[in-house]
C-alpha cells in the first residue's frame, strides 16, 4: 500500500562533484591516490558478485495507480529467501512513469548553455536553484569558522536536531513571516528531508490501512509507500480555479467511509504544487472546520521561498500554535536552494505528536556538520533578510517571464493568485484528442521534439486533460527564450 503525498524536492540529479569547503586540489589528490590504489595488485580475494542491473538514474517511483491497502498483507511468492510483500509491491512499481522517464532523459542529456545547448531542459523538477549563488557567496565568506566547529559535533547529538538549530530555524521562520507568527523552538523537529518528515508524520497519525485525503492535482513525487496508508485524491477543477472545495472533501470522505477506510487527515501544500494556489484565510478556516468536524489531522507542506508576491501570505502555521491537529512541514533545503542537503522541518503544537516524532527522527537524522552550517547561516539575520527578498524577487520575475512568453504563444496560464515554482498551463487547445492519450502524446512531443521535460497533469492526478506544469526555478533568464522557441516549435508542428 502506498501513501502518495505531494512533496517537493524529492528527485534525482546528476552525479555530483565536491563538497562544502573542500576543493578541487584536495579532491584531485585523493582521486589520484584512489586511482593508484585501485591499480596496484591486491590480495587474492575474488571479486564480489556483479552489481545489480544498472539503472543510472534510479528515480523515486511515483505510484500512479492505486492499490488497495489489504493487498500488502498478502503472502509473498516462494523462492530463494523471499522478501516481504511490502517490499514486493515497491519492487513491482513501474519504472516508466512520465515523471521517471523525463528525469532519466534530462539526466542522460542535460541542457547546459555552454556545453550542451541542445540538451533537454528541466522544467519537471520542483527544485529551486534561483538563489544558490547567494548561499555560495555567504559560504565563501564564512567557511573558516564553520570548519573549526565540525569536530565538536562529531559525537552523538539529539536525533531531532541541535537545540541551537531549532532556535535558528524558529528565528528564520519568523523572519519569513515578517514577525507575524511566533515559532517556538521546542515545537520544531528536524529531519533528513521532506520525505522523512512526511514519513514520520504519517506513522504518527495513521495506522496501516487508513487513508489521507489529498487535493489533486498534486506533485507526482510519491513518498510514503512503506506505511500502508492509502491516498485518496480529492479532485479540484479549473472551473473553481483549482481551489479546494469542501464539498469535494466531504464527498471523498464519505466515499472512503463506504469503502471501509478510516480517514486520518488531509495533506495540502501551500502554495499548492503544481497549480500554485496560495492558501486564503477562507480556505484555511474551511479546512479547519472540516477537520474539526471529522476529528482528523491537517498536514500542510509549506514553502517559505516560493511566494511570488510580497504581500502577506496565509499559512497553516498561523494556527499551528493553537490547533493541535495542525502540523506544518517545511522543505528547508529546497527553500534555501540546497536540495542536496536534505533538511525537513516539522512544526506542531501537539505534544504527543512531537514526542513520538522526536523519537522517530533517530531513523532519519541530519548530520551534525550540516546542522552547524544551518545554524550559522540562518542566524545571520542580515543575510536571511537579503536572501528572502532577493529570492522572492527572482521567483516573481521568472514566473512573470514565463507567463508572458507563454501568453505570446497563445498558451493560457493561471496567474491570478499564484505562488509556487510552477506555471500551471492549459494546453488542451494543442492536444489532438481530449483524453489522457492526447495529453501524453503532447508530453512526449515536448520531451522528444521540444527537448524539455515538463510535468503532465495526468502525473499529478488532474482529472482534466491537457494541463501541464512548467517549473521555472531551474532556469536562468536566458533559458526562458529558449524554452519559448522550443515550445513554439512543438505547438506549431502540432
Amino acid at each position: 500500500m502506498r501513501l502518495i503525498v505531494p512533496l517537493q524536492g524529492i528527485v534525482q540529479g546528476r552525479d555530483g562533484g565536491l563538497v562544502l569547503g573542500s576543493v578541487l586540489p584536495c579532491a584531485l589528490f585523493f582521486i589520484m591516490q584512489f586511482y593508484l590504489w585501485r591499480n596496484r595488485s591486491v590480495s587474492s580475494a575474488p571479486p564480489p558478485p556483479p552489481p545489480p542491473p544498472a539503472d543510472e538514474t534510479e528515480v523515486f517511483s511515483p505510484v500512479l495507480h492505486r492499490v488497495h491497502s489489504r493487498s500488502s498483507i498478502s503472502s509473498p511468492r516462494g523462492g530463494a529467501a523471499p522478501v516481504s510483500s511490502r517490499a514486493n509491491s515497491i519492487s513491482k512499481q513501474s519504472n516508466n512513469t512520465p515523471y521517471q522517464i523525463g528525469l532519466k532523459r534530462v539526466s542522460s542529456d542535460p541542457y547546459d548553455l555552454s556545453t550542451n545547448p541542445e540538451g533537454v531542459l528541466q522544467l519537471g523538477l520542483d527544485e529551486n536553484r534561483l538563489s544558490l549563488d547567494l548561499v555560495q557567496d555567504w559560504l565563501a565568506e564564512n567557511a573558516m569558522h564553520l570548519i573549526a566547529g565540525i569536530s565538536r559535533v562529531a559525537t552523538y547529538q539529539p536525533f531531532d536536531g541541535l537545540k541551537e538549530l531549532k532556535v535558528a530555524v524558529a528565528g528564520y521562520m519568523s523572519q519569513v513571516m515578517e514577525g507575524s507568527i511566533d515559532f517556538h523552538p521546542s515545537q520544531i523537529v528536524i529531519t533528513a528531508g521532506v520525505s522523512s518528515a512526511i514519513d514520520i508524520l504519517s506513522f504518527c497519525l495513521a495506522d496501516i490501512g487508513n487513508a489521507f485525503l489529498v487535493p489533486s492535482p498534486y506533485s507526482p513525487e510519491d513518498m510514503k509507500w512503506r506505511n500502508g496508508v492509502e491516498i485518496i485524491a480529492v479532485p479540484c477543477r479549473s472551473a473553481d480555479g483549482f481551489g479546494l472545495s469542501i464539498t469535494a472533501l466531504e464527498n471523498a470522505f464519505n466515499q472512503a467511509k463506504k469503502r471501509g477506510l478510516k480517514v486520518r487527515g488531509i495533506i495540502i501544500s501551500n502554495p499548492r504544487n503544481p497549480v500554485g494556489n496560495l492558501l486564503s484565510h477562507e480556505t484555511l478556516y474551511s479546512v479547519l472546520d472540516f477537520a474539526n468536524e471529522k476529528n482528523i489531522h491537517i498536514i500542510s507542506i509549506e514553502s517559505s521561498s516560493s511566494y511570488s508576491c510580497s504581500t502577506h501570505h496565509v499559512t497553516m502555521a498561523e494556527i499551528a500554535n493553537i490547533e493541535d491537529r495542525v502540523h506544518v512541514v517545511y522543505n528547508l533545503s529546497n527553500d534555501l536552494s540546497l536540495p542536496g542537503f536534505h533538511i525537513g522541518v516539522i512544526y506542531s503544537s501537539n505534544a504527543n505528536v512531537l514526542s513520538a516524532a522526536k523519537k522517530l527522527t533517530r531513523f532519519s537524522p541530519v548530520s551534525a556538520p550540516i546542522q552547524l552550517f544551518l545554524i550559522s547561516i540562518l542566524s545571520d539575520k542580515e543575510f536571511v533578510k537579503t536572501f528572502i527578498e532577493t529570492n522572492r524577487n527572482r521567483v516573481g520575475k521568472m514566473h512573470l517571464m514565463l507567463i508572458e512568453g507563454l501568453e505570446k504563444l497563445g498558451i493560457e496560464c493561471r496567474k491570478s493568485i499564484n505562488g509556487g515554482l510552477y506555471c500551471w498551463v492549459n494546453m488542451s487547445g494543442f492536444i489532438r484528442s481530449y483524453s489522457e492519450k492526447g495529453e501524453m502524446d503532447l508530453w512526449e512531443k515536448l520531451l522528444n521534439v521540444g527537448k524539455m521535460n515538463v510535468t503532465p497533469g495526468m502525473a499529478c492526478h488532474c482529472i482534466e486533460h491537457g494541463w501541464f506544469g512548467f517549473c521555472f526555478a531551474n532556469l536562468t533568464e536566458h533559458d526562458v527564450s529558449i524554452v519559448m522557441n522550443r515550445i513554439r516549435k512543438v505547438v506549431q508542428s502540432n
Partner: protein
C-alpha cells in the same frame, strides 16, 4: 474531542522506558564533569569511541585548510553538491566506503560500490532491512544478549517481532544449531513466520568476535530454512587484533558466493571512526532486489551530499585510514586492558573480549539472589550510589542475571580511573557489610 494518534505513536515499543534508557536519564540529570561536577554520574552506558578522535580531528582541520585555496573551484564544487539529490549517493563516497570496509577486513573480501546503499546511520539501515525482509507480525531471530536498541529499531514501526536465540556464558555465548532450532520452533509455535537471523559481529554487548565455525553454522542454518541473514558489522574496525575478525563476507568468498543473495551486511562510521554525529550508515546486500528496494527506501533517510563528500576524501586517503585503523585498534586494546585489569583487582571478572568499546562484566557473585530482580536492585545501587551508568544484562535480554555492559572508550583515561576507584570502594563496602 481529543484527536487520535496512530498505534505506532502511542506504542511503547520505542523502549525509552526501560532501565537501559533510565540510566541515561539519570546521567543527563547529573552528568560527571572532572571540574564542575566531580561527584556526578559517569556515563559508562554509551558506546562511543573517543580514544582516537584526535586523528580524525587533525585530518579534518588539515584538509579543510587546503579546501580554502582555489576559491573559484570551491564555488562550483559547492554548487554541484548542493544540488545533488540522487539517492544512489555520490559514487566517490560509495567507493570510499567499499574501500574502507575492504581495508578493515585486510582485503579478505571485496565490496562493490554498486551494492552499497546509504542511510543516515545503522539505526535506519536495520529498520529499513526489516521493512524489506518482514511483513508485520513476522519474526527475526536474534542471539541474546543483544543491543537493547534492536527492540525499537527492528520492531517499532515495522511491526516485526524478535525471537531470541538464547546464549549462555557456559559456552562463551556461542550460537549453536540447537539453540537456533529452538528459537525457530518457538516462533513457529506462536504462528510467526521466521524471515531471518540478525547477528552483530563483533557482538554488542559481549565485545567478542564470532568465530568462523559459528558463522558457518549460522549460514548453513539460514540456507536450510531459506531465510535471510543480516550481519551488523558496525564494530568491525574495532577488533583489537585484525586477524581475530571474520566477516560473513569472507564466508561467502569461501563458498564462491553461492547462496549469497540471502546475506546483507550493515555498517556505519559511528563506532569505528568515532563520528556518530555525522549519521552515516550503509547496507551492503548481495541480493539485487534488496539493493534496488533499499535504495528507493533510503529516500526516507538520506545523507547530505556534503557530508558524503567530506568523508569520501578522508576514507580514500589510504595514508590516513591505514594509520587510523592500526592506531585505533592499539588504543582500544590498551583501554580495555586498563579497565579489565582494574576490575580484576577488585575481584570482578569480565568475559574475555577482543573487540568493541565495552566489556561484559560479571557481577553475579554480588547479587543477593540469582534473579533479574536482584540484578535490577544491584544496578540501581550502581547508578545512584556508585554513580556509574552501566547497562544491565536484563535490558539486553540476557538469560543469566548479574551481567552488565560497561563502556570504556567514551571518556578520558583519568575518568576511567575515577570510575574504577568508585567500583573498588563499592565492592569493598559490600564485602565489609557481609
Amino acid at each position: 474531542m481529543e484527536i487520535e494518534l496512530s498505534k505506532v505513536a502511542v506504542s511503547s515499543a520505542h523502549g525509552e522506558d526501560s532501565p537501559y534508557f533510565a540510566g541515561w536519564k539519570a546521567y543527563d540529570e547529573n552528568p560527571y564533569d572532572e571540574v564542575h561536577n566531580p561527584s556526578g554520574i559517569i556515563q559508562m552506558g554509551l558506546a562511543e569511541n573517543q580514544v582516537s578522535f584526535d586523528m580524525v580531528e587533525e585530518y579534518l582541520e588539515e584538509h579543510s585548510e587546503q579546501a580554502l585555496l582555489g576559491k573559484k573551484n570551491k564555488r562550483s564544487s559547492f554548487r554541484e553538491n548542493a544540488l545533488f539529490q540522487d539517492y544512489h549517493g555520490l559514487l566517490s563516497f560509495r567507493k570510499a566506503m567499499a574501500s574502507f570496509m575492504e581495508q578493515i577486513r585486510g582485503g579478505k573480501a571485496k565490496f562493490n560500490p554498486e551494492r552499497i546503499v546509504l542511510t543516515a546511520g545503522v539505526t535506519a539501515a536495520n529498520e529499513l532491512l526489516t521493512f524489506i525482509l518482514t511483513n508485520p507480525g513476522d519474526a527475526l531471530l536474534v542471539p541474546t544478549p543483544y543491543y537493547p536498541g534492536l527492540d525499537r529499531d527492528l520492531r517499532w514501526r515495522t511491526g516485526a517481532k524478535i525471537i531470541p536465540i538464547h546464549c549462555e556464558s557456559s559456552n562463551g555465548y556461542q550460537v549453536t544449531p540447537k539453540t537456533m532450532e529452538v528459537a525457530y520452533q518457538n516462533a513457529q509455535s506462536m504462528n510467526m513466520k521466521v524471515r531471518g537471523v540478525l547477528i552483530t559481529n563483533p557482538s554488542n554487548p559481549l565485545g567478542v568476535t564470532i568465530p568462523r565455525s559459528t558463522l558457518e553454522e549460522i549460514f548453513n542454518f539460514v540456507i536450510q530454512k531459506n531465510i535471510h541473514l543480516v550481519s551488523d558489522e558496525i564494530y568491525s574496525g574495532s577488533v583489537f587484533s585484525s586477524s581475530d575478525f571474520v566477516s560473513i563476507a569472507e564466508i561467502l568468498v569461501s563458498k564462491n558466493y553461492k547462496e549469497a543473495e540471502r546475506v546483507h551486511i550493515v555498517y556505519s562510521l559511528s563506532k569505528d571512526l568515532g563520528l556518530p554525529g555525522f549519521r552515516v550508515g550503509t547496507i551492503y546486500s548481495y541480493n539485487d532486489k534488496v539493493v534496488t528496494i533499499a535504495r528507493r527506501m533510503s529516500s526516507f533517510s538520506l545523507i547530505s551530499s556534503q557530508t558524503q563528500h567530506l568523508l569520501a576524501c578522508m576514507l580514500l586517503d589510504e595514508n590516513f585510514t591505514e594509520k587510523y585503523i592500526r592506531v585505533n585498534r592499539e588504543r582500544l586494546l590498551k583501554r580495555q586492558q586498563l579497565m579489565v585489569n582494574g576490575l580484576r583487582e577488585y575481584g570482578i571478572e569480565c568475559l574475555e573480549g577482543n573487540a568493541c568499546l565495552f566489556s561484559w562484566m560479571n557481577l553475579s557473585p554480588f547479587l543477593e539472589e540469582p534473579t533479574m530482580e536482584s540484578e535490577l536492585v544491584l544496578w540501581n545501587s550502581i547508578v545512584n550510589e556508585v554513580k556509574l551508568n552501566i547497562s544491565p544484562g536484563s535490558s539486553c535480554h540476557c538469560v543469566e542475571p548479574g551481567w552488565f555492559r560497561i563502556c570504556f572508550a567514551n571518556m578520558s583515561e583519568k575518568t576511567l580511573e575515577v570510575a574504577l576507584e568508585r567500583i573498588g570502594d563499592f565492592i569493598l563496602k559490600r564485602r565489609a557489610n557481609k
